[in-house]
């Protein structure tokens, strides 16, 4: 139904484009056109499609909740909670669609009939309203075409609005992220104290699983302490940076200061391949090759190593991050003005002394920015940890044991079927918002540092 309606509107818009253009050619015989003939077509097409599609979208967004209010009106005298009402509404919808399998009460049957009726009314009303709008806006637009009004300006203003709305898309995504995370996280913090979440040292959400009724608040208190996850996240990121910073930085220095054009031309893109490999592939590599390898070495040295160690996950993550640091630091060091180098050489410094004492300090802000971006990348990395570092949240500083991270726990909680309204599911969103805040913080600092640095030398 909806598809037919939208197709109809679009087809009509196309027809009106051709109609408008033809009309312009007719007008041309008696008076001077105000714009190219195609603008007459665009004008009609825009007036045809835009209002109808906007109304259609608004209608589709609001219709379900209005129908829902009407249906649930019959249940207001029964003193039901929000969740029970929601359940009833789902049942009514299922019954109306013919997929309901529970026992059918009279009341439910009545509601389902009402639902079908309401849907029918809503559908015919929608078609009627949209047709009316189409007729109205088309006749309005046609009149101004007949009057040979200015055609190009309105079309261009319309296009500009379309462009503007598209640019709001990115903002909309951010708003969507913040609200979807906040909405569930706030409900989570109604069940679990925010203090217990931030400072609790024991993460074991599976404990709160209760088939019927409410989970025990005492259990809840001790199950959602996120400290082990925060610690694990930063610990694995730290291991990753221990691998990535020296290798990345030295590669960056070599590429910008020593390497000839040929080496630079080939080595840089090849190193960047490391950043293009999907993380799930790294995860497989870490779990299958690096993990057992670390374990073997550890065992040979007489150490107890778990097969899923923080070290394996962190090291592989570090390899993944190398190009972020090497490419960015290469860029910032190349951007340091040649005059600084020449000055240093003129004082008799060797190349490495110039790098260490002049170029590196000059490029430091940019390098710090690139490292911060890399840290934020490491904190947000998911699959390597899920596959290589185990899923139990241990509070440990031993790189040979397994630890878990925020991202890995989100996956563990949400894999498979989710039950919305369950504190366990909501806890994933609480973790998500803490992850979002931490990475946002790092990104904002990094981007502003890099930006300031760029301004310095431009």
């Amino acid at each position: 139904m909806n598809l037919i309606l939208v197709t109809f509107i679009i087809l009509l818009a196309f027809t009106s484009y051709y109609f408008g253009r033809k009309k312009a050619l007719v007008i041309q015989s008696s008076q001077r056109l105000t714009a190219l003939p195609k603008f007459y077509g665009y004008y009609l097409a825009a007036w045809c499609a835009a209002p109808a599609l906007i109304i259609f979208a608004l209608w589709s967004v609001f219709e379900p909740s209005i129908v829902k209010t009407f249906i649930l009106q019959d249940y207001t005298d029964q003193n039901l909670t929000k969740n029970e009402l929601q359940l009833i509404y789902t049942k009514v919808k299922a019954l109306a669609a013919g997929t309901y399998t529970g026992n059918i009460t009279n009341f439910l049957d009545e509601s389902a009939n009402k639902y079908i009726q309401l849907k029918g009314i809503a559908n015919s009303a929608k078609v009627a309203i949209i047709l009316a709008i189409l007729i109205f806006s088309l006749s309005f637009a046609y009149r101004s075409v007949q009057k040979n009004d200015r055609m190009r300006e309105p079309v261009e203003i319309f296009l500009k609005w379309v462009l503007f709305v598209a640019s709001l898309g990115a903002v909309l995504v951010t708003i969507g992220i913040v609200f979807s995370l906040l909405f569930e996280a706030i409900r989570f913090f109604q069940a679990v104290k925010i203090f217990d979440f931030i400072f609790g040292t024991h993460w074991y959400p599976a404990k709160t699983f209760v088939r019927d009724g409410q989970p025990d608040p005492e259990l809840m208190k001790d199950a959602f302490g996120a400290v082990p996850l925060f610690a694990g996240t930063f610990f694995i990121a730290f291991i990753a940076m221990c691998v990535a910073i020296p290798i990345g930085l030295l590669s960056g220095i070599y590429l910008s200061e020593y390497a000839g054009r040929g080496v630079r031309k080939y080595a840089k893109p090849i190193i960047e391949i490391l950043a293009g490999i999907p993380t799930v592939v790294y995860g497989f590599f870490a779990a299958l090759t690096v993990g057992p390898f670390v374990k073997e070495i550890g065992n040979a040295m007489g150490l107890e190593v778990s097969a899923e160690s923080a070290l394996a996950a962190g090291a592989v993550m570090g390899v993944m991050i190398i190009p972020f640091i090497s490419s960015l630091s290469d860029d910032v060091m190349t951007a340091v003005p040649q005059s600084l180098r020449d000055g240093s050489y003129a004082m008799g410094a060797t190349k490495s002394e110039t790098v260490k004492k002049v170029i590196f300090p000059a490029a430091l802000p940019g390098i710090v920015g690139s490292i911060l971006l890399a840290v934020s990348r490491a904190i947000g990395e998911t699959m390597i940890v899920v596959m290589a570092s185990g899923l139990a949240a241990n509070l440990t500083m031993n790189p040979l044991e397994s630890t878990s991270t925020i991202t890995a726990q989100i996956v563990v909680i949400l894999i498979g079927d989710q039950q919305f309204g369950d504190p366990k599911t909501q806890s994933a969103f609480a973790l998500g918002i803490s992850l979002f805040i931490v990475t946002l913080f790092l990104n904002v600092i990094a981007l502003s540092v890099v930006k300031k640095y760029r301004e310095k030398y431009e």
């Binding site: 190009r152 462009l163 590669s251 080595a267 999907p278 995860g283 090759t289 060797t350 991202t407």
Partner: protein, 423 residues
Amino acid sequence: MNSFKKNLLKKRYNAERRFQWYGKIAIGLALSFLAVFMFQIFSKGYSAFQKTWIVTEVHYDKELLLIDAESPSKDDLENADYYDVAYKAMTSLDPGLPEEEDRQLIQMVSYKYEAEVKDLLLKNPDYLGKIVPIKLTASDDVDQVHKGNYPRDIPEENRRVNDYQLQIYDMLNERGDILSEFNISFFTSPDSREAELAGIASSFMGTVFSILVCLAFSFPVAVLAAIYLEEFAPKNKFTDFIEVNINNLAAVPSIVFGLLGLGVLLAVFNLPRSTPLVGGITLSLMTLPTIIIAARASLKAVPPSIREAALAMGASNMQTTMHHTVPLSMPGTLSGTIIGLAQALGETAPLILIGMVAFVNTIPGTPVDPAASLPVQIYIWSESAERGFVEKVSACIMVLLAFLILMNLAAQIVRHKFEKKWS
């Protein structure tokens, strides 16, 4: 020059050389990581492109098939009972085996062997009543033995293939009745719980659909947004805000987009779970900033002289942009889009959250059928314990990497072939 100065100079030159070596070592390390990595994947995965068959003989005995009709129709063959015929085909490999041990022989082929026996007769109805050779898919354990991935020297109770089965395998191998052929079914069959039958067709289609949906949603919005921000936006606080927003969005961890997909697309808009439609939309939110940034950069690279010339000829701002600036910026925008899509192609975590990890053993035909995607398939298979899946994962990784390389090559070609150099 006195000796003190000489020593100092020597020291400084040594430090210089050392420093240069550090840089070389660092680059060497980075490159060798890549090499080791690729070697591991290829050495483990190439064998998955070979499939092992066991050749035996099957007797399409009318009595055992329970076919009464003199000249049976297609339907009769379709509805016949193949259990005994197939069973006999396998047990005939070692007629001396007591009946209660027969399972050991049956376990050497995939559990779909009965269907394979049936398919052969349906394709060649004249085999009815005859004894014909037949190729049966070997079980993944036999497959691994044949590929040499299975250590034979460990104690029998720790092995999935027991001594008797190994003996039968050796006998067949000597007779030349173990065949190794190119594994077409890896590309044409959907996922399966059995490693020897599992293929990537379902996840491949899932990936293709997700990427198409992602392209359809992100490309138009991103290009329009970039045009507005680069060509029309007034310089004010709000445009600055949009700009900061886009830059930050590009660095948000992918899993957060998965939460967004779960919390908004599934919970609020009630879109169907586990489908490429939802996966594609989620990925499109992620690629949106990447494409916007690329499109803006390539719009910026169009020299102002082009705009000035168009304006001087009396074109309006909109005409200048749409007729000249945007077409000239398209190569850069397109290659940025392809790179953004390649990034989205490798994403796993957001797809797991919106339920694309479900076990799907049908090939999806539309974007609203449940599906997995290649990276998620890698995750699913790598979680299974069976040995046969290790090479499947590596092979799947090879397919995924090939896909990525192709896309990046396409981006390069678009950029170099069509981009105009302004100088």
